[in-house]
């Protein structure tokens, strides 16, 4: 369980997040949505503990993450970063095995258990065949899957993803989110994911946190939060919802007046 209580955070004296409250539960995928600059990435940095809070607290299964050491925190919260430049000369295995950082000693010697967990993480993300390939020669989708595998190797009960589908084509977007869904349910993970694509959110996520200007606008199931009226107001363009046949699902479309 991940609980945010009155979270204020930002840079220097400026508050970006102002009083965020929500709770994300195990087995559920919670999406963070909102326009650019709404505070999604800042919130993810706060949850992962790299951005100190100005006020409020974040509890991971009852533990205040601000009181934990870096390694203790990394055992509770694993992060899949936004598509970044990976060290090109690393192999897939070298990349994923670094997820074991909070468990290994100073020299980074791996135990049998570390290797088993790393291999499992790669199996679950279908990255085993990338183990000996150089990361620089992999596609964006493959690199993103390696980062997901690395986060799984961290074996943390809370998984945080920062816009994991950016730069991926629709096939990879779909596969990655299906993987995340399956992992959330299969391993009972708390998954929090910053997302841009509202249609993907409505299909893959259980809960939605709608942010605007650093404040929480609405929180709940996608059908409750993602209403045409609310989205039009937050995104400042006219947005319509079209039912797509299945129960509770819809297309979200900006429209011209």
């Amino acid at each position: 369980m991940l609980e945010l209580l009155d979270v204020h955070a930002g840079y220097l004296n400026k508050s970006i997040l102002q009083g965020i409250n929500f709770t994300a539960s195990p087995g559920e995928v919670t999406a963070l949505v909102g326009p650019n600059g709404a505070g999604k990435t800042t919130l993810i940095r706060a949850i992962s503990g790299v951005l100190p809070l100005q006020q409020g607290s974040i509890h991971a299964f009852g533990k205040d993450i601000q009181t934990l050491s870096a390694a203790q925190r990394a055992r509770m919260v694993a992060v899949v970063p936004q598509a970044t430049q990976l060290p090109p000369a690393f192999t897939g295995w070298q990349t994923v095995v670094l997820g074991r950082t909070p468990y290994v000693n100073w020299l980074g010697n791996l135990s049998h258990r570390d290797e088993t967990i790393t291999r499992d993480a790669m199996r679950q993300t279908a990255t085993l065949e990338l183990a000996n390939r150089q990361v620089g020669q992999l596609s964006g989708g493959e690199q993103q899957r390696l980062l997901l595998a690395r986060a799984l190797a961290q074996a943390a009960p809370i998984l945080v993803l920062d816009e994991p589908t950016t730069h991926l084509d629709i096939q990879f977007q779909f596969n990655l989110l299906a993987d995340v869904r399956r992992l959330a349910e299969g391993q009972n993970l708390v998954v929090v994911m910053a997302m841009h694509d509202l249609n993907l959110v409505s299909r893959f996520c259980d809960k939605v946190v709608l942010l605007n200007d650093g404040k929480l606008v609405s929180y709940g199931a996608p059908a409750e939060v993602l209403t045409a009226e609310r989205l039009s107001e937050v995104y400042r363009i006219k947005i319509e919802l079209h039912p797509d046949g299945k129960e509770g699902q819809f297309f979200i479309m900006p429209t011209l007046d």
């Binding site: 940095r45 992962s48 503990g49 790299v50 050491s69 870096a70 390694a71 203790q72 925190r73 990394a74 055992r75 919260v77 694993a78 992060v79 970063p81 970044t84 990976l86 060290p87 090109p88 000369a89 690393f90 192999t91 295995w93 070298q94 670094l98 997820g99 950082t101 909070p102 290994v104 100073w106 020299l107 980074g108 290797e115 291999r119 183990a131 000996n132 620089g136 690395r150 961290q154």
Partner: protein, 340 residues
């Protein structure tokens, strides 16, 4: 999946041993290998006798200490170069480019310009002052390079070059004003060892062992830090503390090299590059392999320095630059851009 192969280590070690033997053999008097082995054997078994043969004197009093000093220097420069490149994620970072070597050099020049009451005092105090000056310089460069809380590769190199020029200028000024022997500083500045015999070896050994030893434990840390500070912290690393340890260890290592062997460029820059191209991006391998390869590279350069205009010697720093620069360009041009 794992890479436990010992082959790169064995190959590098073999090259290093060959270079050490060659370094003992080559000079104004060429000593055949079988004589070297014979002298070593006599030395080990204590059967050299009262009348030490001239070859034995050359080997034990001149060639062997010089060989060990240069091997230590090459190892120190290459291991600290690899550490800086890994830490700053910048292929151009080396002890000279980021200013730590010229900072240590300034400290050493100031220490040399002082008349120390005892000879041994200067041997042990010069590296301490060089270390302090080198550390201050690298921290200054890191702070100056910070723009908006992040330091880009470009700003790091620019700050390093600026601080380097500044400290080098101050070094030159101190040397001109110093009452000490100018030639000693000049030779030192061109990368030639000014002291001979075992004294510099014994002086350098504790600093080099401590610094290189600490750096060799940082391979995993550097691997994690290849993903940037933020991801490293999210993976559970205490980034600030680890970075400080790498900087202190690399600066100590650089200062040890600069204090006893002078200003020798390119070893710290190109050795880790070559190692990376041949052995991949894992710093747990790059650090030890660079240490061995740097020692071998500097020894081979020194052998060349002894023979090109024999019986005169060229300062080894000139040779490393003359051979290193073209080789570096060749390596850069044949490698794929994403690997550099």
């Amino acid at each position: 999946m794992k890479e436990n192969t010992a082959r790169p280590y064995l190959v590098t070690l073999a090259i290093l041993l060959a270079a050490m033997l060659l370094s003992v053999a080559v000079g104004s008097v060429v000593i055949p290998l079988k004589d070297i082995f014979a002298v070593f054997w006599q030395g080990i078994t204590g059967s050299l006798g009262e009348q030490i043969p001239p070859e034995a004197a050359i080997i034990f009093k001149l060639r062997l200490p010089r060989t060990i000093l240069l091997a230590l220097t090459g190892a120190a420069l290459a291991s600290s170069g690899a550490a800086y490149q890994g830490l700053f994620r910048n292929p151009l970072a080396d002890p000279y480019v980021i200013g730590v070597a010229s900072g240590a050099g300034l400290g050493a020049v100031i220490a040399m310009s002082i008349r120390w009451p005892y000879e041994w005092a200067s041997t042990f105090i010069i590296p301490v002052i060089a270390f302090a000056a080198g550390l201050v310089t690298v921290l200054l460069v890191v702070v100056l390079a910070r723009v908006n809380r992040t330091s880009s590769s470009t700003s790091l190199v620019l700050a390093g070059v600026a601080i380097s020029s500044f400290t080098t200028a101050v070094s030159s000024f101190v040397m001109l004003k110093s009452t000490g022997e100018l030639r000693r500083s000049m030779v030192w500045l061109l990368g030639g060892s000014t002291l001979s015999g075992w004294q510099p070896v014994l002086g350098m050994l504790p600093y080099a062992v401590l610094g290189i030893g600490a750096l060799l434990t940082m391979g995993y840390t550097l691997n994690v830090m290849q993903f940037g500070d933020e991801q490293a912290a999210q993976m559970g690393l205490r980034v600030g503390r680890r970075r400080l340890i790498v900087i202190v260890a690399a600066s100590l290592t650089t200062a040890a090299a600069v204090s006893f062997s002078g200003v020798i460029g390119f070893v710290g820059l190109i050795t880790p590059h070559i190692v990376r191209l041949l052995a991949g991006g894992n710093y747990r391998r790059i650090l030890p392999l660079s240490t061995l390869a740097g020692a071998a590279f500097l020894l081979l350069a020194d052998i060349l320095a002894r023979v090109v205009i024999a019986p005169q010697e060229v300062p080894v720093g000139i040779i490393t630059a003359l051979t290193g620069a073209p080789f570096f360009i060749w390596v850069l041009r044949r490698s794929r851009p994403e690997e550099v």
